[in-house]
């Protein structure tokens, strides 16, 4: 993506968010708002932002999706996540030569590929695949029309060769979907629990199950770390800006608080960290190949960003004092979202173990 495209993209996402502050607010309420979620889908779909990865021309534009994710996250991390998730789903559907979806797609975004094996199992009965099991916290499940679900062959050792990806409608017999989970953050992008109780899938429902597909899925999930890093960077950026601007207005201790060196230090350290977060995803999004998993080093950087962000956004609250704790200034939402983002694409410790595993063996 060239610089000009980047600037246009930044401006259009920013303008869209500023024009749609009411919609963002409706989405970010503690209670799930399906109407707002559907409106959001229609709006963003029309702008082509939900199918960047379905379109052949833009499918490999890692930096474009990352840029979109970061810009949305400055205004709403939930929307950023929804855009990224929908594009990941589009990439999977395009790989299976299926059409772009007409509604939100649910994906197990809170689990790493290594965690997939322990959830839903299948057995082959004639031509049908019968699945059983529970999967907790599937992202966008309560508002999705389609579900992309990895399923594991029963009694097989855990390896991708025995995992298939199924694509199915969310309204189906033998699927139970919980209401939206009351979660810490990213409340605009609700998660739900799935119970498959003898769910029967046809051959058409099983979309990706070859060794080639395994590479594709693993690479996609691995590269997705870049988009999540971009979202984290957007959250840090907005928390920083709010803190900086507040510090130039708030008067305590005989002066505007930005004149206290203690506040200057907090802001300077925050600036250093948020700039590093930004530099990391920008640099890496331009250098990695769409056909490869990210390096172990980059995974390390991604994990470090997951760990860092909750502390940065915590400072974002502290600089505001009491008002930082109130929902009016959004700092508290960024703090909650930051912690929620720590677990996107899987448990950080599971990722750290798997990242190191090849080296140890």
């Amino acid at each position: 993506m060239d610089n000009e495209t980047k600037l246009i993209l930044q401006k259009s996402v920013n303008d869209w968010c500023l024009d749609n502050t009411d919609l963002i607010q409706q989405l970010e309420q503690p209670k799930q708002n399906s109407v707002a979620a559907n409106t959001l889908f229609d709006e963003l779909n029309q702008l082509g932002l939900l199918s960047i990865f379905h379109d052949e021309e833009t499918r490999s534009e890692i930096s474009m999706l990352a840029e979109v994710g970061c810009q949305f996250a400055i205004h709403s991390a939930s929307i950023a996540l929804m855009v990224v998730q929908q594009n990941l789903a589009c990439a999977l559907l395009a790989q299976a030569k299926l059409e772009a979806p007409l509604g939100w797609v649910a994906l197990p975004l809170y689990d790493s590929v290594y965690e997939w094996s322990y959830q839903i199992q299948y057995e082959q009965k004639g031509k049908n695949t019968i699945t059983n099991g529970n999967w907790l916290s599937i992202s966008l499940l309560p508002i999705a029309t389609t579900l992309l679900l990895p399923i594991q062959a029963k009694d097989k050792t855990t390896s991708f060769a025995h995992i298939s990806l199924s694509a199915t409608a969310t309204k189906k017999n033998n699927i139970e979907i919980s209401p939206a989970i009351t979660a810490l953050g990213l409340r605009g992008a609700p998660s739900g629990d799935l119970k498959a109780n003898g769910l029967s899938l046809s051959e058409d429902d099983l979309i990706l199950n070859s060794t080639k597909d395994e590479d594709f899925v693993t690479n996609l999930w691995s590269q997705a770390e870049i988009y999540i890093m971009a979202i984290r960077s957007g959250i840090a950026e907005s928390s920083y800006r709010t803190a900086r601007d507040y510090a130039t207005e708030r008067y305590q201790g005989g002066k505007i608080i930005i004149e206290h060196s203690l506040i200057r230090k907090l802001l300077a350290d925050f600036y250093r960290e948020k700039s590093a977060l930004e530099e990391n995803w920008r640099t890496f999004s331009q250098t990695i190949s769409p056909d490869l998993s990210i390096s172990d080093g980059l995974m390390g950087i991604a994990l470090a960003s997951a760990e860092k962000l909750p502390w940065l956004t915590s400072d974002g609250i502290q600089i505001l004092g009491g008002v930082g704790y109130m929902s009016d200034f959004i700092q508290e939402r960024r703090f909650r979202d930051a912690k929620q983002c720590e677990f996107l694409l899987g448990h950080p410790q599971a990722k750290a173990f798997s990242n190191w595993h090849a080296d140890a063996s």
């Binding site: 609250i317 004092g321 009491g322 704790y325 929902s327 677990f343």
Partner: protein, 501 residues
């Protein structure tokens, strides 16, 4: 694929449905040591602990998540049943001396009680315990009359199962940290003022972020004489009744956590406050406060935030322990993995460090701070029962105790306190507040990280903890402001020979 996981620990012995509470000795060995040399104090401490454990397990733990959810939807909701039970357990009067109708327990009993409640819900601990802040403010004015107005009402109501709340109104839109720091007072943009009129004062202004402000029956309002100066020594503490004409609650704040205890804006529009509801520093004075008064209050209330924080740190540890007991990580039982056990041990360790820190502050403040005179005056004089319950005797006693003599006695004891002693108590309070709240925050973050996506779900408890804990770094002065105070009281003192004991 997951052979990097080693299942090396034998399963823990089958744990019961709930985590077993520690004995007093197990939880507070430092206090148990003191209790050994003072049998009656020991009994008080242990009994208070057991009482708090029973109340918390029966009434706080089962409702904590439901109240949090309910009050997210409706911040005006009041958990009436819980409050009634709190009256039965005498949680509102535990902090008062017997001569004022309270429990007569040593002040440390109150702190450990609130650590235990905070172990189950710090929002509820705040709801029940924040009265203590106002009481300390009144106490620091050394006006026994003001104190007896409040204590009498709280204790009498408690006997009848009616919870009584006292809010403390200090913070204003233009004065947060400044209003908490005696040295910054001159800069504080405090605009709430009281004008002297016949028979009392007319109060005008707005206070914000007031805990329990929306349902408090009495508000302890920090203000200034409208025509006077604005130094710490000119502060007035007015006790304002909630039904007063002109008093309104324009809004309840929409805050991230500690939902059980709302924070309100309290507005005073020409509110008349009778003369006898003004706490006096001196019989002759029109002010309630002094520089030392503020410092003394902070020594106690900051240690209290340390106790609440310790409860949260303990809760985070227990929440993660329960989760690890019941869940797998990559197909293996969590609790059988050594690294998980290490994380759990670290959570327990931080809670223990926090506890030792706030208990250290309590001991300091009981030795040299505001509650040292209170600790002495806790005891009810030994009178025969018939005399104790005789109305004339009781009235006479009340009169004496709320009169000038007691006032002088209070003041005399306070004057014995040197500036160095005050700095010890307040400095320890600063450290307890900052260290315990930081340890608690770290525990909540780490507990969720261990639990993974399960830690983000409301029903598992940890997400509420993270929302709750974040307030502890802010109120009673931000942690940074506490540390600036510590610099004055402990760091600079080491270079200033004039100031040593």
């Amino acid at each position: 694929m997951n052979s990097f996981l080693i299942n090396e620990c034998a399963p823990l012995a089958k744990l019961g449905a709930e985590i077993q509470e520690w004995s007093f000795l197990e939880r507070f060995p430092e206090l148990a040591f003191i209790a050994k040399s003072n049998n009656s104090l020991g009994k008080q401490l242990e009994q208070s602990y057991l009482n708090a454990v029973e109340f918390s397990e029966r009434y706080v733990a089962p409702q904590a998540l439901a109240i949090d959810k309910k009050m997210t939807e409706d911040p005006h909701y009041v958990p009436e049943d819980l409050l009634k039970k709190a009256c039965e357990y005498k949680l509102f009067s535990t902090m008062f001396p017997a001569f004022l109708g309270g429990s007569g327990l040593h002040p440390i009993c109150t702190f450990i009680t609130y650590e235990v409640i905070a172990t189950h819900c710090v929002g509820i601990a705040n709801l029940l315990g924040v009265n203590g802040l106002g009481i300390c403010c009144v106490l620091a004015s050394f006006d026994p009359r003001g104190l007896s107005v409040i204590t009498k009402e709280i204790c009498e109501n408690e006997k009848n199962g009616i919870p009584t709340f006292l809010s403390t109104c200090v913070t204003e839109p233009g004065a947060g940290s400044d209003a908490e720091d005696a040295d910054e007072f001159a800069n504080a943009q405090l605009t709430t003022t009281a004008k002297k009129v016949d028979g009392g004062y007319i109060l005008n202004g707005t206070k914000i972020f007031i805990s329990n402000g929306g349902h408090a029956q009495i508000h302890a309002v920090m203000t200034f004489d409208a025509d006077g100066a604005h130094t710490p020594d000119d502060q007035m503490l007015l006790l304002v009744r909630s039904g007063s004409k002109g008093l309104s609650i324009p809004r309840l704040e929409n805050k991230m956590g500690q939902k059980a205890c709302h924070a309100a804006e309290v507005h005073f529009d020409n509110v008349f406050v009778p003369e006898n509801m003004m706490c006096r520093k001196d019989e002759s004075s029109t002010s309630s406060y002094s520089y030392t008064g503020i410092a003394n209050v902070l020594g106690v209330t900051r240690a209290a935030v340390g106790a609440w924080s310790t409860g949260v740190a303990e809760n985070a540890y227990r929440t993660a322990l329960r989760y690890a007991r019941d869940n797998d990580f990559l197909g293996q039982p969590m609790e059988q993995q050594q690294w998980v056990r290490l994380e759990l041990a670290q959570l327990a360790r931080r809670a223990q460090v926090a506890r030792s820190t706030y208990i250290g502050a309590l001991l300091a403040v009981s030795t040299t701070g505001l509650i040292s005179p209170l600790a002495i005056t806790q005891k009810e004089p030994k009178l025969p029962d018939w005399l104790k319950h005789n109305n004339t005797v009781r009235n006479l006693r009340e009169k004496v105790l709320s009169g000038d003599l007691t006032h002088r006695a209070f003041k005399f004891m306070a004057q014995l306190q040197t500036s160095a002693e005050r700095d010890i108590a307040t400095g320890y309070g600063d450290v307890a507040k900052v260290s315990c709240s930081e340890l608690a925050l770290e525990n909540c973050q780490k507990a969720i990280t261990l639990m993974g996506k399960g830690g983000l779900r409301h029903e598992n408890g940890a997400e509420k903890l993270l929302r709750d804990v974040r307030l502890l770094q802010i109120y009673e002065g931000t942690n940074q402001v506490n540390m600036l105070d510590y610099v004055k009281r402990r760091v600079i003192r080491q270079f200033d020979t004039q100031l040593s004991l």
